[in-house]
């Protein structure tokens, strides 16, 4: 079963002179554990595709399946369940909950899923170790550096053991050294957990950790490249 199957997806937004097509029959698939970099200039439709895959936006045509589940058949509650259990997102601005410590942020999705306490504790402890934040686990978000915040966000994304992680410019708000480290971490954890990742980026460093790179222009995927 594919981790992600996007088939002929179209999407338009209303404009002053009629609908403006943003996605023009996009098809894309990700194997389990596969990492794909999605690149392209601003306005090419990357974010729209990411929003459609994440269930934020609905495509006008085509279909999107995540781990065999067709998003078109899901209502708002179903999409919430998908985000809660199957797809995680890593953001450019980290988006940690400000009232929770690093450990609590990682634990939060598990609480939402009703995971039992002993299992929760074990999983959080393991993730904190994996992202190298054991010594900072009790710190609040405002006490963390950008790199540390992104590590917490990655651990949080992995906590539910998702089939797919959507990463939206995960290094866009970090300096290059920290960005490199975060990419290495993403790759390592992706390998270890067997999680597929679709990484939207402008950064030329991202393709280094991906199995392939796809480029988007004017709402269409142009080519699929293997990493250099």
């Amino acid at each position: 079963m594919m981790a992600l199957q996007v088939s002929s997806v179209t999407k338009s937004y209303p404009g002053p002179d009629g609908p403006v097509p943003v996605l023009k029959g996009v098809s894309l698939s990700l194997e389990p554990g596969e990492r794909v970099a999605l690149m392209g200039p601003s306005g090419s439709g990357k974010s729209t595709l990411l929003n459609c895959v994440g269930g934020i936006d609905r495509p006008d045509g085509g279909s999107i399946e995540i781990a065999g589940e067709d998003l078109g058949g899901l209502d708002e509650e179903g999409l919430c369940r998908l985000r809660r259990q199957t797809v995680s997102t890593v953001f450019q601005f980290f988006h940690l909950l400000p009232t929770l410590s690093a450990r609590e942020n990682i634990e939060f999705p598990l609480l939402l899923n009703g995971v039992a306490e002993s299992e929760r504790a074990a999983r959080v402890a393991a993730l904190v170790d994996e992202v190298g934040l054991a010594h900072r686990a009790s710190a609040m978000p405002h006490e963390l550096s950008g790199g540390e915040m992104q590590r917490v966000a990655i651990a949080r994304a992995l906590a539910i053991e998702p089939r797919l992680i959507l990463a939206d410019e995960p290094t866009g708000n970090l300096d290059s050294t920290t960005g490199e480290a975060i990419l290495d971490l993403l790759a390592a954890l992706g390998e270890r957990h067997g999680t597929a990742m679709l990484v939207v980026t402008h950064s030329p460093q991202v393709p280094r950790i991906c199995h392939r790179t796809v480029e988007m222009r004017d709402g269409q995927l142009l080519a699929t490249e293997k990493p250099a």
């Binding site: 919430c80 009232t99 053991e161």
Partner: protein, 877 residues
């Protein structure tokens, strides 16, 4: 999640969000949380305080014998005047050998010498032997033993003989403590127009399980009081108590039937103490209901504020909600969590409000009791007790208010998209409905229609101006919607000139957002209702001043001792008032005899008036429906003038014939005219004094108005009157006018306080709303800072925006206040009280209110601007 076998606990997301997110915000921002809870607490407190104070003022009315002898089973009393004691013999004959006890009571008002104008004392003459025996029987001893010093009752009368000594009086501990009296001390009292010296024969401790002994009660042996008051052989009522024991119910029913037969035959009233209390306290029901509804004003404004604050919290935490949505939290769960926050806020604020309300009630009860005393009946209570039912009701009201306030923000929060889709600086908030001006017009039309709904009669006859209140509600709502239209003109007004920050603020006002509208709506509601109350008070004052000017034509006013109160039943005997009227320098007099009578199940006043017959100087009443002829001598024979409240309460007008119960039988009088009377809401029937004296066999008068001869100084006449007649209370025309206006303002003191609280809460809301707006615009503020705006500049922009919102709220509020004032004067007031008022607008007061509101709004907005000027554009809350 990949592992389907992962052990699951049922997720309780709302509880999780509460615990991990909302509660932590409360802890992180204790000041904001405390402010919100405090605002709600203030609203609940005002609401509860007025209810408690109302209750205390009403519960203060008790039969004065109740605390001494316990509650009677039945009361027999005349419809008017006093009873002849010989009725007791007839009663005993009627009940035969049945085990029933009769307690004759004479109840009068008096005044303590030296405290003539401070308050009335209630003189109660009872058969002390009978009561003593009844008490002793319950305690298993005789009266003599029970009252002896050795009986272990140190406060009881020392010598049993003292019970029957003429002039022996008993008072409660509160009365004694207030005057530092001890057993054996003298107590000088004015009874009718005579000064009597009583001796304190005992100080009665408050009995357990009965009402506390009122602080105004003076208990005297019945024959002794009859003799002191010159009312030998007369009593006010007979209290009836059935014996307990076997066949009690059967016996009681039998006695009650015989008494009922006798009462019908003799045209007397037979009622239970509960009936009596209910009928008396019903008189002030409309007054109390109006006050209670007014107290909801602070809570209503509080609701607006909580709504704004919770909405601001949504804006502030929008990014956080978006993250939660990204993590898979559903909109429904977000909504529930926000409602849980509103509930918790309501609970905390409500509990705080109960404590605060209890304290506030003690402060209010004095003012409410004073009004009830003045206008309705005598009440004694000054202490408030916290009724748990009331507390629970107020808490519930606070929680519901908070939930209502939280509903829109919760809905808005739940509509937040996941973080992927969130665009920074999205402007939301405010009710979408607030943008529809046709809805505003529709609401005003509904309000106008509601104003024409007639009063609803509640059980017991109290009129409830339901239509008036609905009209006020829809009017406020309609104005809230329409005031969105005011923002553009306000922006145009502020946008001129070269001040960049003022222009920026004006551009923000022109692009009016939901939060602007909601804030201005809160302010407009508070100002509208407060200004409407100010119109009512001003109209009342104008009307009252003109009424006083009309009816106070004499130079001196003489009344029996005791404070001016509806309960004052003191009177001046004929020889005495004739001497007063005959004083040198007196050209003539109006005299009034006042009797309380039962008319169609309700208590009213019957006045017997005799007017000065000088065609150039006579009392001309303010006519609502004038009689065919006015002037000296026109009120005579079987003609009557009735007051406007009487006309409204009983639906009788000119030409109708009234049947008045009097000791000499039912008297038929025809209504010749209707006059305005703002001194009494119960209703008055005025007949000639000759008629009332004859019907009641009573030549005393309650008050006298004296006209000085030309060239005679009223002040000199007053001095003379005071030295020759120390028993009476005399005031000059000017003093009485001043006193009347003072009493009037005292009556409205509570409403002033309620209005002030509402406006303060609303201006506080403006500050909170501005803080939310600035937070929402942090990227814009960062841009302003980047292009060179200083912190002061941003504070100034915030100030102008705050002033703009306040201006819109003020204009809308004052605008709607004219309509609300009209409803209060033309609908609610006539329906509830039966008073016609002349519409008057307190322009000076409006100017002051506007200036204060704008100045406070500017200061609050400036502070908020200063505090938020340094917000980082990328700050994540």
């Amino acid at each position: 999640m990949k592992d389907a076998a992962t052990r699951r606990e049922p997720p309780r997301t709302a509880a999780l969000l509460w615990n991990r997110v909302i509660r932590r915000h409360w802890v992180r921002e204790p000041f904001l949380t405390a402010t919100l809870a405090g605002i709600l607490a203030l609203g609940v407190a005002v609401f509860l305080a007025v209810r408690l104070a109302n209750k205390a003022a009403v519960s203060g009315f008790a039969l004065f014998t109740e605390s001494v002898s316990g509650e009677s089973d039945l009361i027999l009393r005349p419809r008017a005047g006093l009873l002849d004691s010989s009725l007791l013999r007839e009663l005993r004959a009627a009940s035969g050998p049945l085990p029933v006890e009769y307690f004759p009571v004479l109840e009068l008002t008096g005044a303590v010498s030296g405290e003539e104008e401070e308050g009335l004392v209630r003189l109660v003459g009872v058969d002390l032997v009978a009561i003593g025996n009844a008490l002793a029987a319950a305690a298993g001893s005789s009266v003599a033993n029970a009252s002896s010093k050795d009986s272990g009752n140190p406060s009881g009368p020392g010598d049993p003989e003292s019970l029957f000594r003429p002039g022996a009086a008993f008072v409660g501990t509160a009365f004694a403590a207030a005057r530092d009296l001890a057993e054996g001390d003298e107590l000088r009292l004015w009874i009718r127009d005579r000064e009597a010296t009583l001796e304190i024969a005992g100080i009665l401790p408050d009995p357990p399980n009965r009402p506390a002994i009122p602080a105004t009660l003076v208990l005297v042996d019945l024959p002794s009081l009859q003799s002191l008051a010159g009312e030998e052989g007369r009593i006010s009522r007979i209290e009836v108590r059935f014996a307990e024991g076997r066949d009690a119910e059967e016996v009681s029913a039998k006695v009650a039937q015989r008494l009922a037969d006798l009462a019908t035959e003799r045209d007397l009233l037979l009622e239970t103490p509960e009936d009596r209390k209910a009928s008396v306290t019903r008189m002030s029901a409309a007054f109390r209901m109006n006050l209670a509804i007014l107290s909801g004003l602070a809570l209503l404004v509080g609701v607006y504020l909580i709504m704004q604050a919770l909405e601001a919290a949504v804006v502030k935490r929008r990014a956080e909600i978006a993250i939660l949505r990204s993590l898979g939290v559903t909109p429904r769960e977000i909504r529930r969590a926000w409602m849980a926050e509103a509930f918790a806020l309501g609970l905390v604020g409500g509990l705080g409000g109960i404590l605060l309300g209890r304290l506030l009630a003690s402060a209010l009860v004095g003012a409410i009791s004073a009004t009830v005393n003045m206008l309705y009946y005598e009440t004694t209570t000054r202490a408030v007790t916290l009724h748990w039912g009331e507390a629970a009701f107020s808490l519930g009201f606070g929680v519901v208010a908070s939930l209502v306030a939280g509903w829109i923000p919760a809905r808005e929060a739940s509509m937040t998209p996941p973080a992927q889709a969130l665009r920074q600086g999205s402007q939301g908030g405010g009710l979408a409905l607030l943008r529809s001006w046709p809805l505003g017009l529709l609401l005003l039309a509904v309000a106008y229609a509601c104003a024409h709904i007639p009063a609803v009669r509640l059980p017991g006859g109290t009129a409830f101006a339901l239509g008036g209140y609905l009209a006020a509600f829809f009017g406020v709502l309609g104005a809230s919607v329409l005031l969105g239209l005011l923002f553009r003109p306000v922006a145009a007004l502020l946008g001129g000139g070269g001040d960049a920050m003022r222009r920026y603020a004006a551009s923000r006002l022109a692009a009016v957002g939901g939060r602007h509208r909601l804030t201005a709506a809160g302010l407009s509601a508070a100002i509208g209702m407060s200004a409407a109350m100010a119109i009512l008070v001003a109209s009342f004052e104008t009307t009252l001043t003109s009424w006083i000017g009309q009816i106070l034509k004499a130079d001196l006013y003489v009344a029996s001792p005791g404070a001016p109160s509806i309960a004052n039943a003191n009177a001046i005997s004929e020889p005495e008032w004739r001497r007063i009227v005959a004083l040198p320098g007196v050209a003539g007099a109006d005299t009034l005899q006042r009797q309380s009578i039962e008319f169609e199940g309700r208590e009213i006043l019957l006045g017997g008036a005799s007017y000065h017959d000088d065609p150039d100087r006579f009392l001309e009443l303010l006519w609502v429906d004038p009689p065919p002829a006015t002037g000296p001598g026109t009120l005579s024979g079987d003609g009557a003038w009735v007051s406007e409240p009487f006309q409204r309460r009983f639906g009788r007008g000119k030409g109708d014939v009234l049947e008045l119960p009097t000791p000499s039988g039912t008297q038929r009088v025809e209504i010749l005219g209707v006059y305005a009377d703002y001194g009494n809401e119960s209703g008055t029937v005025l007949v000639s004094r000759a008629s009332s004296s004859a019907w009641f066999d009573d030549s005393k008068v309650s008050s006298i108005a004296l006209y000085a001869e030309e060239g005679v100084d009223p002040e000199e006449l007053l001095e003379r009157l005071r030295s020759e007649f120390p028993a009476v209370t005399a005031r000059t025309n000017e003093l009485l006018r001043t006193e009347s206006i003072r009493i009037f303002h005292q009556t409205f003191a509570v409403t002033y306080a309620l209005e002030a609280i509402a406006v303060i809460i609303a201006v506080g809301g403006l500050g909170l709303a501005l803080a939310g707006l600035l937070l929402e615009r942090r990227a814009e503020l960062a841009t302003l800072r980047a292009i060179g705006a200083t912190r002061r500049d941003i504070a100034r922009a915030a100030m102008w925006e705050g002033v703009g919102i306040a201006l819109a709220g003020l204009a809308g509020g004052l605008g709607v206040s004219f309509f609300l004032g009209w409803i209060l004067i033309e609908v609610i007031n006539p329906q509830s009280f039966g008073w016609t008022l002349r519409y008057a607008v307190p322009w000076g007061g409006f100017g002051l209110l506007s200036a204060l509101t704008l100045a406070t709004a500017a200061a609050v907005a400036w502070g908020v601007g200063q505090r938020n000027a340094n917000l980082r554009s990328d700050r994540r809350e």
